[in-house]
């Protein structure tokens, strides 16, 4: 779990320079998020953690904070391993 958190933080740090993002901080509320960033975030999560983001996962709540992303990855990892 710490590995997922660290990798996610490192990815987000490229987009949120000079901001120390808290684990529960709303990244969409920070203002400079656009559709390109959102797509890169989805690709990052899929590529880095080997999961497949489906339509039903495309809820903004799943990507709003570092903790939410970690939770999504953990949930998808468990689900897709058991399928």
């Amino acid at each position: 779990m710490q590995d997922i958190r660290n990798k996610t933080k490192a990815f987000l740090a490229r987009f949120f320079q000079n901001i120390d993002l808290g684990d529960d901080e709303d990244i969409f509320a920070l203002g400079f998020v656009n559709s390109l960033f959102a797509m890169q975030l989805v690709l990052f999560v899929e590529n880095e953690f080997g999961i497949s983001v489906e339509n039903e996962d495309l809820d903004i709540e799943n990507f709003r904070t570092i903790n939410a992303i970690v939770h999504l990855v953990e949930r998808k990892t468990t689900t897709q391993m058991t399928v």
Partner: protein, 390 residues
């Protein structure tokens, strides 16, 4: 590091080139003049499996890797940008369905799209919404088991003859994607004529007047706005256009090499004049550089790397601007002949201008790529430009 096509990719490239030489180049200027693509030509393209390029074999497609798909777009672009446009918009719809469609939607549409029985087209732009895509005014509202769409879409490539439209509309305050059949009640279209370039690509204006489509024709979720369907479809479109621009530049180069080898002025072939050599050198160098950028974007796509998004922007920006330069120089080299319909270079020039506008204008790309540069650079430490060099 190895920059080389696989034997299979080389074989595919040779087959694409042969097809374009035989079936597309001989009719490209005529189709451009008539602003028309004969159905028989689309059938031939479909028979080659090109319309199912990105669709996996399980849905009847060719399942090409991204580099092979790129090579196909280069060859089509070398022959005729309108045919490359067909590949672009059709692939955008297929890819959107493949990526974001549910099982039923995939089973319903992908086999027909792959075979070419159904032609796909993309409806995002509107009379008052181009680069500012999130400001589209077309609306969709749920009414029982149907969505009701109202609005106008403009500049829809192959909109005159497409069967299935990927339409974007505001729904509950969010941009969402809908699959609209040409026979849906309330759907109509009118041809757009007299365009500067890609004149054979049969543009249309689409009118949605209380257009009713089944609620299951919503594609993808609503929560991510433009991020899911539109952004991923445009990424594929941008990639296709980037390679198509490499094709235009390559066509300009080949035409210029040929012409300067037979045309004589001042008792010497044009190729012996150093100012001509300057233009040829720029074409050779730029087309090679653009192709490498496209390969990089394709390689990253193949590996699912998020960097592919920005690398595709960079490839398209560079390829479209050098295509316009190459076409401008090719016309200059051909002189009065270059301004005549007897030579294809005038078509390349007109088509190249369109490339700097579609799938992200040059100016939008300049803004986006510059922002990416700052994002990728640590200005506070000693590693300035390190990431960008990777």
């Amino acid at each position: 590091m190895k920059i080389e096509l696989t034997p299979e990719q080389k074989q595919a490239q040779a087959a694409f080139r042969a097809f374009v030489e035989e079936e597309i180049i001989p009719v490209a200027d005529q189709n451009d003049r008539e602003e028309y693509t004969p159905p028989g030509l689309i059938e031939k393209i479909a028979q080659q499996g090109f319309l199912g390029a990105l669709t996996p074999p399980e849905y009847g497609g060719s399942g090409m890797d991204m580099i092979t798909f790129g090579l196909l777009n280069e060859e089509l672009g070398r022959g005729c940008s309108s045919m490359r446009s067909l590949m672009t918009v059709h692939s955008m719809v297929s890819h959107a369905l493949l990526r974001w469609g549910n099982k039923q939607q995939k089973a319903r549409w992908l086999p027909d799209l792959a075979s070419g029985t159904v032609l796909g087209a993309f409806g995002l732009s509107e009379p008052d919404a181009g680069s500012d895509a999130k400001s589209i005014e077309t609306t969709a509202r749920l009414d029982g088991d149907y969505y009701v769409l109202n609005g106008i879409k403009k500049w829809t490539t192959y909109g005159q003859i497409a069967d299935l439209f990927l339409i974007f509309a505001q729904c509950d305050g969010k941009v969402s994607a809908f699959l609209v059949d040409k026979d849906a009640p309330g759907f109509s279209r009118r041809p757009i004529k007299g365009m500067l370039g890609t004149r054979a690509s049969m543009l249309a204006e689409l009118r949605l007047h209380d257009c009713r489509i089944p609620r299951e024709n919503l594609l993808g979720g609503k929560g991510f706005g433009l991020a899911s369907v539109a952004t991923s479809a445009l990424d594929i479109g941008r990639y296709s256009v980037a390679w198509g621009c490499v094709g235009i530049a390559q066509a300009c180069l080949e035409a210029s090499l040929k012409y300067t080898s037979v045309r004589r002025q001042f008792d010497a072939y044009l190729k012996e004049h150093q100012l001509i050599q300057h233009m040829i050198t720029d074409m050779i160098t730029n087309v090679k550089a653009a192709r490498l950028l496209c390969c990089k974007a394709g390689y990253l796509k193949e590996s699912g790397d998020p960097e592919t998004i920005m690398e595709t922007w960079i490839a398209k920006y560079f390829a479209s601007t050098i295509a316009a330069r190459a076409a401008n120089d090719a016309v200059q080299i051909h002189g009065a002949n270059g301004c005549s319909e007897e030579y294809s270079v005038q078509r390349y020039l007109r088509d190249s201008r369109v490339m700097e506008i579609i799938e992200g204008s040059t100016q939008i790309q300049q803004i986006t790529i510059a922002r990416y540069g700052y994002q990728e650079t640590d200005l506070t430490g000693n590693s300035v430009m390190l990431k960008l060099n990777a």
